[in-house]
């Protein structure tokens, strides 16, 4: 993991692979390298490219992934700053200010899905430098890649997980101290409300963020650029809301992999025209299927609600397998974006910043797990709303072993779900990014057994 590898450039490798997939040139050395990655590529092909419906959305989505990595490669050369920020923060404001987002979670995810056993060495690397192995793998993978020099180092740290996740926040705190780069904490307040005191607190924190970004870049926020990004973000929100409504249909017309592409798009490029293209395409595809009464599956065995995370394994097999086994992925925690509790108002800079703050305030995790389980707008209420709205018939928990917040409350949550929503629940001990904790085949078997014996009556 030294200079040679850095020169080979991990982001270039991935975007070359993506380039190859769309027919551009590659050198011999690159092709040989790609050959070794073929098993993962063929799995990716199967998940993203095989079915025409899915391919239609996957192509613009791949473009986003490619741009994301290219932007990182080029950032410093183009005189732009890189911001180390959480996946769970819509980066529209960063695009508006010409700052390049670097989310360690995005990197971990791309590795877990795209490179065979790709993320493990980077997880171990972080342990070697003294980051406790009990910290969350979501960040550790990407942090390992960054600290081992395969990706440009960030210039600043923006922590948006404050209030919802200690482990995530602590990693960000650590990185800023470790790399000696400036740190900005954007704190979600201890309770949630819609447009009340709590939202106002967060909006003030958001202003603090903007002031910090202006100071770091030496540039003032450009109102026109901001408006452009907000307009795109608003369009994206509308598509998300429409798709949400269509999920209610039985059979469900939204393929499982669309969940990944929906939250992936939001996390990587909210506020960009590319993101709008993905969401627009996605909506059109789903609408068509809905009109034709086409479900993803010939027969739905279960309409599953994954209350938190899915599982990232090679080629995105998680999503593909669910569908091939009759399990509709109605709710995937990271894609709970349908109920918006805010609006995007593009009138003035103030309204725009307040809107973007509202969007961030209501992102998954930031919204639901910041306070006690049964408090307004918290985890149980959201799952209850979605369950009834979308006719979910079972609740499954997949998480990471680093997630103290959810592991502290999940057993209680599941009891509440069983009692008050009267649907069966399953808790699986696994790690979304680290297959070594519980291998995917074992997780798969547990889900299958649960669905076949408990859910299917």
């Amino acid at each position: 993991m030294k200079e040679k590898a850095a020169q080979a450039s991990f982001p270039r490798a991935i975007s070359t692979m993506l380039g190859m997939m769309s027919g551009t040139q590659a050198t011999d050395k690159e092709v040989r390298g790609m050959m070794r990655a073929l098993p993962a590529m063929s799995a990716m092909m199967e998940t993203f490219m095989l079915e025409p419906d899915i391919r239609e959305v996957a192509l613009p989505f791949m473009e986003i992934q490619s741009s994301y990595l290219q932007n990182l490669s080029n950032a410093h050369k183009e005189g732009k700053k890189i911001a180390f920020e959480n996946f769970n923060f819509p980066p529209a404001i960063l695009y508006a200010m010409d700052i390049v987002p670097l989310s360690p979670e995005v990197i971990s995810s791309l590795l877990s899905i795209g490179v065979p056993k790709g993320v493990f060495r980077f997880l171990d690397y972080t342990t070697g430098i003294g980051i406790p192995e009990t910290m969350c793998t979501a960040q550790r993978g990407g942090v390992g890649v960054i600290l081992s020099g395969l990706i440009e180092k960030p210039d600043m740290v923006l922590n948006m997980a404050s209030g919802s996740c200690d482990t995530n926040s602590k990693m960000f705190d650590f990185i800023s101290e470790y790399l000696h780069i400036p740190f900005c904490n954007i704190d979600a307040p201890p309770y949630w409300d819609e447009g009340g005191e709590m939202m106002r607190y967060y909006q003030q924190e958001y202003r603090k963020l903007v002031a910090f970004l202006e100071e770091q870049t030496g540039n003032k926020l450009d109102e026109d650029k901001l408006r452009q990004c907000c307009k795109e973000a608003k369009k994206q929100d509308e598509y998300v809301a429409e798709i949400y409504d269509l999920r209610r249909a039985v059979p469900n017309p939204v393929p499982a992999i669309f969940n990944f592409m929906m939250f992936g798009t939001r996390f990587m490029s909210s506020g960009t025209p590319q993101a709008t293209k993905v969401m627009e395409t996605m909506y059109e595809v789903v609408k068509e299927r809905y009109k034709k009464g086409e479900g993803v599956l010939p027969r739905e065995k279960a309409r599953a609600g994954f209350v938190y995370l899915g599982h990232f394994t090679m080629g995105g097999e998680f999503w593909r397998w669910l569908e091939h086994n009759g399990i509709s992925l109605i709710m995937e925690g990271l894609a709970i974006l349908g109920h918006q509790h805010y609006t995007i108002d593009t009138s003035t800079v103030d309204t725009m910043l307040d809107s973007l703050a509202g969007q961030a305030h209501n992102m998954i995790m930031t919204k639901q797990i910041r306070g006690p389980l049964d408090y307004p707008g918290q985890w149980f209420e959201d799952i209850a709303t979605l369950s009834k709205d979308l006719n979910i018939d079972c609740a499954i928990y997949l998480g990471t072993m680093g997630c103290k917040n959810t592991w502290g409350g999940i057993k209680v949550l599941m009891k509440m779900i069983e009692e008050e929503l009267e649907i069966p629940t399953l808790i699986i001990h696994s790690d979304t990014w680290d297959d070594r904790v519980t291998p995917w085949p074992t997780i798969r078997d547990q889900i299958e057994e649960f669905v076949n014996t408990v859910v299917v009556q």
Binding site: D166, M401, G408, H429
Partner: protein, 379 residues
């Protein structure tokens, strides 16, 4: 030393004779977690503030039913204590959002009570804390504190007055000053009090009526001033996760060291800062708690914490710093990596100890490591 025993014994159990006597006289007791809840408010209401601890738990079987596998054992022991009835004497409990593990006690204790596995105190509150300091954060915290006060007043039929708060500040500041004096004694070349005793004294301060406690501690400090001190042993400082178990310090001192300093929340961090006595008492109280030497749950404040650790290490003339964290405690575990890097760079030897708390405590492992560390820093 009978005086010493009186101030160390209560640290070994949860309830103690002072609490019992208080209740016999009809007094109420409210438990709280961590160091961010303003005790003066409870005191001003005429109620005994009692810091909830994990000691005395001998198993975590009930806690394991409710908590997942990666939850801090201290928190599990707290719940187990509740399940085993050792907190039945509490008339109330306030759980604060100090860390992800601790805040879930609020959900879990309620559920365990619903299932009939624990008794829930009649007054049960959540105290939400922001994570970074700003003007609007202070406002939010003031509002949250005022909400807590209202609930307290309503439930217990009491009034928290300005005068009551002023009086509470005086009493609590007295405690803090006395404990500062105790810690000053520990800095001497001849240390008149062991780390084990000091931890006991601090833990007791959290479970005893302050008026009585201040009197006792003042007498003890007098005695300690005349006590022959310990010399010729490696001087250690402990930094890290919560610890109310004096056996941990005893383990280190039994190996031939003396613990003379700490940056712990049952330790320096819980009493170091005073409340400003001029100004609006509620304001100054909330400010003091909000801004006291921070727990690693406050993000972006590492340098504040580090300065404190380094300054204390220097004034204590410590030979080494033990950086301990309970397994799964990411807040301290991660900070400790930075402390290790920075302290070693300044020539202060450190030892990383990841440990278990409570019934699973792994003393054999710890003894080997601490002994090796003492061999390293010894002559």
């Amino acid at each position: 030393m009978e005086l010493m025993e009186k101030l160390v014994e209560p640290a070994k159990t949860l309830s103690n004779p002072y609490v019992e006597r208080w209740r016999e006289k009809g007094g109420k007791v409210i438990g709280y977690t961590g160091t961010y809840i303003p005790e003066e408010i409870i005191y001003a209401a005429g109620i005994l503030p009692y810091r909830i601890g994990g000691r005395e738990a001998t198993k975590v079987t009930i806690a394991d039913m409710y908590f997942g596998p990666v939850i801090c054992n201290y928190v599990k022991c707290v719940l187990e204590n509740a399940a085993d009835g050792r907190f039945d004497f509490l008339d109330g409990a306030i759980i604060t959002y100090e860390c992800d593990h601790m805040r879930r006690i609020f959900d879990v204790w309620r559920r365990a009570a619903k299932d009939g596995n624990a008794r829930l105190p009649a007054f049960f509150q959540y105290y939400g804390l922001p994570h970074s300091r700003s003007e609007h954060a202070t406002k939010l915290l003031m509002a949250e504190t005022q909400r807590l006060i209202k609930e307290l007043e309503k439930h217990f039929g009491v009034e928290v007055t300005e005068e009551g708060l002023r009086n509470a500040i005086k009493v609590y500041n007295k405690t803090r000053q006395l404990l500062r004096k105790l810690y000053e004694l520990r800095e001497k070349d001849e240390v008149p009090v062991t780390g084990t005793e000091a931890l006991g004294i601090v833990v007791t301060s959290t479970v005893m009526p302050k008026d009585e406690y201040n009197k006792q501690l003042e007498k003890l400090l007098d005695e300690l001033g005349k006590r022959k001190g310990i010399t010729g042993r490696p001087r250690l400082m402990i930094v890290g996760s919560v610890n109310d178990d004096i056996e941990l310090v005893k383990l280190m001192e039994d190996l031939g060291a003396v613990v003379v300093a700490d940056s712990l929340c049952y330790g320096a961090r819980c009493f170091w800062n005073l409340v400003e006595e001029n100004g609006d008492p509620l304001q100054t109280i909330v400010t003091r708690y909000w801004e006291h030497i921070p727990c690693p749950r406050m993000y972006g404040e590492y340098s504040r914490r580090y300065s404190f650790v380094r300054d204390i290490a220097r004034s204590g003339k410590v030979d080494g710093v033990i950086l301990e964290n309970i397994r799964f405690c990411d807040l301290h575990g991660t900070d400790n990596t930075l402390y290790g890097r920075d302290l070693e760079a300044e020539g202060i030897p450190t030892l990383r100890l990841e440990r278990q708390y409570g019934p699973l405590a792994d003393s054999g492992r710890l003894r080997t490591r601490v002994q090796a560390f003492l061999e390293r820093i010894g002559g």
